[in-house]
Amino acid sequence: MAAVYKSLSKGSGSDLPKERATKNKQRVLILSSRGVTYRHRHLLNDLASMMPHCKKDAKFDAKSKLYQLCELADLYNCNNVLFFEARKGKDLYVWLSKVPNGPTVKFHLQNLHTMEELHFTGNCLKGSRPLLSFDATFETEPHLKLIKELFLHTFGVPQGARKSKPFIDHVMGFTVADGKIWIRNYQINETEKTGKEGDDADKSKPKHKGPKGDTEINLVEIGPRFVLTPIIIQEGSFGGPIIYENRQFVSPNQVRSELRRTKASRHNARAEKQVERLAKKGDLGLRTSGPRKATDELDTRKVFA
């Protein structure tokens, strides 16, 4: 019986990678923890609107038992999870994970600007597949390679996804700069090089015919904008050993406490000085409550008493 089981499980295991190689099938569970601000929520909605292969779920309650997300993703038949974890109502951490076996990347999200508040003129079809533009730096380090792969799975819309549109009209840019990953989203705007103000019918004809060198591409930003700082990479899905840790990352709590400390040190110095001054005055006998200076024999008050 054991042998039967073995052969069965092995057979299914060896089949899987081959199938995956042929077709890119991804589904992303996208959800946030409790305690996100409205901006975090809007960002989540913006991202969800650009990912037709995602399943948006209700806010997740627990912050410590993140491994439950795996089961949740399994339940929704998703193999990726994009999880927004809000802390203290201001810090946002983003978890990106492949579900059954990992890996998991934890990011700190900063410089968040949602699509609505940016007022950019760009726009794109809801559910069109984006071109993903990666910086060459992503190929230099293994952890960046891994992060790139996760972005590819999560933000890249698989071919033939259920609600995806057949045309490509936006680019998503991922750039590594200053140890952070900057994410931008642009609309692709095609214009005729020769007759810029030509009428529409004229314009559309050459495009249908095929590639021609006379179309000019320019980009118009759509939004949202945000910056991710990788913190750790875990081998498992929301668990397992940590295989990468960013030493450059400074937690926002630390930053805030440092700020508070510098402010406090100023106050402390001033308070200390005040105490010193009082002590000095007391020593000179200038304070009413302090000890009096011992009266001298030749003190004016004694001489002319």
Partner: protein
């Protein structure tokens, strides 16, 4: 017979550390679920059975590692081999043991597993979009570093046993790599503790594990794969090179833009080569990411910005003109004054010459006459200029009226229609140059008295 069997099972369960009742319960649950599935209720069940299996395995496993040294040796030997194999071996071991002890249990286990595999097959054949990876079973913790950790844990337990006999053995065990600070702290004396260098966590960057994970999940993006499957472009050179200062917003965004543009161009040509539709035809309408309402807002914002800019420019122009206008006025006045001075001087000199001429030769020559005409002209022109302010009375004797009259004329006006001269007209009422918002808001010069209440008004006003 059945009762005896049940008792046997219970005793076995106690021995193995497995709660048999729970197992039975779980099995029942499973059965009910299977029925539901048959009834056509689509419930994704995979995670739960998988977990259950894991749970069942765990207690048995731990027991095994405790009581049998052989198993440990096996694990040590196979440490480097793949995890999956490890798991299977463990399963096999389990099975063997189970066979020895109880056949019934074994068969049940087998059944469950086969059922599991059936479920998986069902899922793959269903119409869901995603194929889930098969879950790799991990003994509690991660894959790479778990085996050494497990080993060390085992060693520690052994050590604890040894410690009772002789504690000196502990210090000789220096080869242990990951001894926790706390463990050491307990054993060392205070003097020794001072010498100890604080344990600093090193940077974790496990390249092999990272690459292994990448290989596991990696999506093929090479040149052999059609571009349309992944649509990812890697820039030709690092974008960081073109960002001299990360704080400089303009430079940074330009670099990002350039990167995205390059990708768009490459991607477009690749997709068109593959015959994938790229450009949206003009008659294709679909829901957009930003709704029409949002775009309207954006447009309104743009318009507002433009108008604000225009208004600001206009205001600046007006201000400049005002400043410049004053300068022009001053210059004009100066010029006028200069011209007046010059003419007066000219007249003076001419008069002098004339007087001299008349004194020297009484007989006036033609040239003199001509000259006189020129003088008269000059004088007349000057008179006209001076008299332009106060109009001359028609039919009055030539020459300016006396200074007093002139002054009075200037003051009260002279000539022309006098009626309605001070009444307002369209131009005057449209002219708001004298209006000042500040004065208006401060309540005028005197400050109008606030209107009192009716009773007080009546009281102050007296009887009427």
């Amino acid at each position: 017979m059945a009762k005896a069997k049940g008792r046997l099972l219970a005793s076995l369960a106690v021995e193995k550390g497995v709660d048999y009742k729970k197992v039975v319960e779980k099995r029942k649950q499973k059965e009910s679920r299977r029925e539901k599935r048959k009834a056509g209720i689509a419930v994704d069940e995979k995670p739960q059975p998988a977990k259950k299996q894991k749970k069942e395995q765990k207690p048995a496993e731990s027991e095994e590692s405790e009581d049998s040294e052989d198993y440990e040796d096996v694990e040590d030997g196979e440490e480097d081999s793949e995890d999956e194999e490890d798991d299977y071996d463990m399963a096999e071991l389990l099975d063997r043991e189970a066979v020895e002890s109880d056949e019934e249990e074994d068969e049940d286990d087998e059944d469950e597993r086969i059922d599991l595999s059936k479920f998986e097959h069902d899922e793959s054949s269903s119409d869901s979009e995603v194929e889930m990876e098969e879950k790799i079973e991990r003994p509690k913790k991660g894959k790479q570093s778990d085996t050494p950790q497990l080993k060390s844990a085992l060693k520690k337990t052994k050590k604890a046993d040894l410690q009772e006999s002789d504690s000196d053995e502990e210090e000789e065990d220096e080869e242990e790599e990951d001894i926790d600070m706390e463990d050491i702290d307990d054993e060392l004396d205070d003097e020794e503790r001072e010498d100890l260098v604080p344990y600093v966590r090193t940077t974790i960057n496990n390249h092999t594990a990272l690459l292994a994970a990448l290989n596991r999940i990696g999506m093929p993006t090479g040149p052999g794969v059609p571009f349309a499957t992944h649509q990812s472009v890697i820039s030709s050179k690092p974008t960081t090179e073109s960002i001299p200062d990360i704080q400089d917003d303009l430079q940074r965004e330009l670099a990002f833009y350039a990167q995205a543009l390059e990708a768009a161009q490459i991607g477009r040509s690749a997709l068109l080569k593959e015959g994938v539709p790229f450009t949206r035809p003009n008659d294709y309408f679909a829901e957009m990411v930003k709704s029409d309402g949002q775009m309207e807002k954006v447009k309104a914002k743009l318009v507002e910005e433009a108008t604000n800019k225009k208004a600001a420019a206009e205001a600046r122009k007006q201000r400049d003109l005002k400043k410049f206008g004053k300068q022009v006025q001053v210059a004009k006045e100066q010029e006028r004054a200069k011209a007046k001075r010059e003419t007066l001087e000219k007249i003076k000199t001419l008069k002098k010459k004339r007087a001299e001429g008349s004194a020297s030769a009484l007989g006036a020559t033609e040239a003199d006459d001509l000259f006189d005409v020129a003088v008269d002209n000059e004088i007349k022109a000057h008179d006209k200029r001076t008299a332009s302010a106060g109009k001359k009375r028609p039919g009055a004797p030539s020459g300016a009226p006396n200074a007093k009259r002139q002054k009075k004329d200037a003051k009260y006006g002279f000539g022309g229609k006098k009626r309605h001269a001070k009444s307002g007209d369209a131009v005057s009422s449209g002219d708001l140059s004298g209006f000042s918002v500040k004065r208006m808001k401060s309540g005028g010069k005197g400050g109008a008295k606030p209107r009192l209440g009716k009773s007080r008004r009546n009281a102050g006003g007296g009887k009427r």
